[in-house]
Symmetry: D3
């Protein structure tokens, strides 16, 4: 039987943590976790999914005639758990500043109340996404199949909630929620991205949508599409400048086929179509079709018609 | 402490559900879930994995000499759970038509009996897939490693079962099973796809194989390969035509390297090799090698030899 | 109610297992699992994550002042569980050779003791990875967000442990651990790959890093980058030759943008930059920038400057 | 390693089951459990406890303002689970007779609807029991302590529900529920017993109350009190006659101290007091005190006063 | 399918709760549970058991050399959970009075710190109890068997902790803990009872020990022994007077055999022996033996010798 | 927030453990648990209950036609777990003596094989107990109710298995199993007690049956009956003599009513009846009735008839 040198290893790990904390200018004060919990948020997200779609994503033994009881009870529990997580993030945001507990509470309540009140709107948006997927995929047989089986829809359920958290100044909770969707679906949407109704992502693995992307209505994209940044401007001291608009604007009714990469603050005009694997770093006027034909040469832009690729 | 306006939110969500159901021409009748359950199916799939490979994917304390007891007990439970889910899907399929409970039962029993009887065949096919992976990957050290660690093999366990469900007219259960594999492996195989023995997917993230794809024996593909549709024909009213053959036919012994995209009902002839990142929308004769050499220009097709890329 | 022919199916499955075992030259002897367990290893990996980052990835109710108690208790349990798994793998490695239980024990203890002692070093390396991510992504707001939310960091936690297992001759446990990360993040790093400090993978879905790849310090890569093999040499009998160096060497400070594919034992020199979607099978000198400009033609190599893509 | 003769043991056990079934005149037909499930009922009882006392026995994170949502959702789920169990018991009751599924359904619905409608009454009765305990025990400090900590109250929650099941002709479910209470509290109340409001059992271990006992209002009993049967009349064939009144009648305001044994269909008149360890098989007039003084001789009955023992 | 009148029942239950709260003079204010949680305390008690006896009642995979890590981590978690429960009870105690959060915190910390510091003493006391059981029961074969299997020892682990809670003014938590032991063992010890070292209860079912009982060293009692109150004095208004000494004093080295009942504030002198089923309401001098010989007549007191019954 | 002196408490507890181990002459050597685990045994007992009565105490979704698969799989797992526990107990028994691992293994295998082979016999005995309960209780309506609801039957399932463990020299495992039954039912049967077929315990709370008791066929006993020891002979050094016959012999067809206490190695002759609360320390001839009539005076023995009390 082995006798590991547990004491020594514990000691070494403790010293490395101390160094790290020193390098991060943190004092090691007694106390518990001052940071939101992934597990707690996972419970909240599951509960909200159930509250939004009770008969499809709620408990299997739920019955129509008592949906509202379930929704009410589930929301109450989930929102109060989320409130507790919001307090943790707000305190964390102010870990180097003064903030009173009263201010923390006020901000947390305001934020989560806002999120709660937006849930009906979120459900409406998601209904439009479900319909868009049903209409956009020849393999889809019913809207119920779409809701239960399409990773793109699952990713949007998480995103539309995460985006609310992000715009209400809880970027960390938003990001944790977004990564849950990423891990399950392979679709990586930054919670900052603004996405209109009736959005459809097919297959989805490898999709990346950046923080400042803006997407209109009825947009359709396929697997491995990137809406990314082209370069990262640095400030005078060489640090990255954070928060600048640096991802594409995609107007209404655009379609982007699999593997296309669109980089930088370019605009894809209303109704244009971007072919598979196309690499784009410039604006595309409304109604144009950008393809690579059969060969891999310069993308060909054709703005007369908008037939599919 | 916050007091959310739970009553108001519950009311709004209820109204949005009503609107949705009206738009979907559904009446809200009392009663429980009329729809298969993802959790129930997940249990079934886990049990079938164990029954197919008891000493590798079954319980850790299983012993050789009582494998058959385990397999028999597990199958009996799993098949009856699956039968219950089949009933739910069959009733759902007929939600706008008349069907007697006797007919439901008859179809459900017929279907799941058929699936049950095909399990030995499925195991044989999977054995061929495991061997193909072992032979095809220089990093593979044993067949056991392949079975336990290769996402491509996991995806095929799900697919070969899901395909049986699909061909026996349970497309929804099939699809749910396929998405479980997609979520775990990043490999998205539509359950309608027909795949021969000794199939090997390496790495696998981003692979997409469409509903009407047909794949022969001893085919090998790498990550991010797409076997997709080129365009979606619409009918006179502008709706997508569903179910038409629209994905590639891949004949025996073909190899498709990472990132290649093959679109439409094209045929890749026996033994041909498609290089990485190649974009193809036309047939390739048997024995040919399609590559992009070093540059990104037009794919070069060379039909004299079939040496690896 | 259906009565499945369970007995018949059990019998058929049993025969197929017999055939398989015969083909694999295995005798069916009484006894239990002789193979490591994925579930056991999953517990170990969770515990090690907690022991390495107690206040972030440990239990939510942990407190600073008793971190060391938690770390010590968790390590002790996890290391002994890992020791048991190591014994299983060592016995499995010698299933066709003679090995005494004493030798098994000696090797297992040596191996896991070595791993245990390397944990402080692993933590240091991971700290450098966290900082690299924070500095490299304009969307990252704090190091804590990076640790909790970045799939690239999660993949590296698994990899740095898996790599220790691999170099200490437990390739199977290493591989199982690597696949856990692959399934959660879509990032597929073979445990054999050698990776220096301050490594950052952004987004990550679809990244593949091969067994013999060697990566220097401060390297940054994006989603869907492949560091793969170009061809697989076979020996005289046509079998793949296993273990040869066949993946790229990436020197310090290299950046590889999304979708780039680098194949074969090529060297990317210090500080060079590989643009998105570039396909490379040759060496790149230090300091060069390889891009595809706006079009998809031959990659353009520019070695005078190294401005971002 | 042992190799047990599992096959042989399985075979022997199978034969013994066959013999048992033959002796019980049962045929072994294919099919599942035709018998209520203890686990399912345990869930129902837990849910009903929570629905009856939401802020004390419901989930710890419940909040006043959403009690009704919780109660409604919990009741709906619990009652439908109970309905399914009721069907099982009704079919079981008729296993030797013809009964249509329609009749089963009708009886099950009628029964569980009746139970559901009686829940408010049950809660009122339990409130009176809680008050009785609080008033009767000098150690009780609050009504909340009584509800959470007193085994006598817990036993009455189970009993008042079990009694409803019993009187509505589901004696088996009733009995299973009663045994759950017995196991947790050591208090064995047959679900057939009729018990008035404001009933208080202190300590409770060893209390036995028989099937046909009738207990009035404001009765108080202590540990190890038996209200049992004196003898069991047999019919002409020597079998026990089932269902005859054979347990005591206890009128209002009676107190029975620890260890007293009252056997047979005797009546303890209003307000009488039975001392500890007294053994009684005859009626006691209203207002009398039966004690054993200091010695163990004949119980002394004093009907002038009713001071405590 | 039944449609229960859930709305109506929910409404009725809600009204009954309102009536109850009105009768208890409680306002229904928004907010969550203001009351300790049984589940939380159950976790604490399990953790404390493990911390007190790590190699016997701790986790099965614990190892000697890391006991202290386990004990430290477990204590830290358990004590903070207990602290949270203490706050709940203290606030509850003052629900009709003013108390600041600072006062709550101060009292909670003081109390639980006191309990924490008494744990080594508790362990010593329990060691003496284990030895007493081993020495007192001819069937006991090892001290380990005693610790693992004797309900009397389990009851004392709970009691010695519960008594600390009680004496530190957390009577509700104390009582909940006591009832956990009662439910598992059938032994009902009020947490107020004062019990010296080396106490042994054999078998135990039905034992009742009252709130103000005082028990010396090396006392031994058997199943169904009651140390109870004789009568409950009421105050001028007829309410029970709470907290008066009303249970027996049992001096050192006393033995009380099964089923004996001792009522009231009597004293059993040092070394006396009370026979089985004896009913006692008077003092017994030191060294006396009280038995009922073969018959059930007046107990016979023999103060010359102290041979066993 | 409190900062407990965890380090100090951990240190104190560690010292007390050291003292205890010193007093028990144990060295503190590195290593894990050398003692059977209650949790492991609980799993074994649950599995054996299911294997003995698959359609009643097995999983709820079990079906008749695959009972044998379930029984075989369950037995195999349970028996190997039990084997591992047996090794632990055997090593523990020899902790102060030399024993080779081979001897441990041999004894463990022999013992558990013996137990396994006795399972069919145990099932037969239990069938007789179930019938006895059904016939003996006027409230019992079916044999299934008896099996599911009667604590006396549950206690006998545990006892008949525990007794096998005891007679095969695994007294510790036997005792742990017995205490599980005691905790659930309030019935305390020492695993050493020898009990014939068709044994019925009604209600059961408070029953105590000692280690050397011998009970014939068709015996019936009620709650709170004690079959105990009268006195404990000590050896020359004042230590208790362990293992001597010291509990009653109860011959066939005896009935013992509630609360009766029988102490010492007395014999209750065939067919005799012992009335409620009777206190007996002498032999009773066959066919006699011992009662206390209405008063509490000397038990009256009537050997002419055997009518019930």
């Amino acid at each position: 039987m082995a006798s590991f040198e547990i004491d020594t290893i514990v000691q070494s790990l403790s010293e490395i943590r101390k160094e790290w904390r020193a390098s991060q200018k943190r004092s090691r004060e007694p106390g518990g976790r001052e940071f939101p919990s992934r597990d707690a948020l996972a419970e909240v997200m599951d509960a909200l999914k159930g509250a939004l779609f009770p008969m499809r994503l709620g408990p299997t033994d739920l019955r129509h005639e008592s949906e509202d009881f379930y929704v009410g009870h589930t929301l109450d529990t989930a929102l109060h758990t989320l409130l507790a997580q919001a307090r943790l993030e707000i305190r964390y945001q102010h870990r180097h500043q003064a903030i009173t507990e009263t201010e923390v509470e006020q901000r947390a309540v305001e934020t989560i109340t806002g999120l709660a009140n937006s849930l009906p709107h979120i459900r409406s948006m998601l209904d439009s996404d479900v319909l868009a997927a049903y209409r956009g995929d020849p393999a889809a047989q019913t809207v119920d199949e779409v809701l239960l089986c399409y990773p793109g829809v699952l990713a949007m359920i998480y995103h539309r909630i995460a985006h609310e958290l992000y715009t209400r100044d809880l970027p960390l909770l938003a990001r944790i929620a977004a990564e849950m969707a990423h891990s399950q679906t392979g679709i990586d949407i930054h919670p900052g991205a603004t996405i209109g109704p009736s959005f459809f992502i097919d297959h989805g693995t490898g999709v990346v949508i950046g923080e400042t992307a803006v997407i209109g209505e009825r947009v359709r994209i396929y697997q491995a599409v990137t809406l990314g940044a082209k370069s990262f401007p640095t400030d005078n001291e060489g640090s990255l400048q954070k928060g600048l608009p640096r991802h594409p604007i995609v107007e209404d009714d655009v379609v982007i086929y699999a593997g296309a990469t669109i980089l930088g603050r370019v605009t894809l005009g209303k109704g244009c179509v971007i072919g598979g694997n196309v690499w784009l770093t410039e604006d595309v006027p409304a109604g144009c079709v950008v393809t690579q034909a059969r060969s891999q040469d310069t993308p060909r832009t054709n703005c007369a018609s908008s037939s599919g690729i």
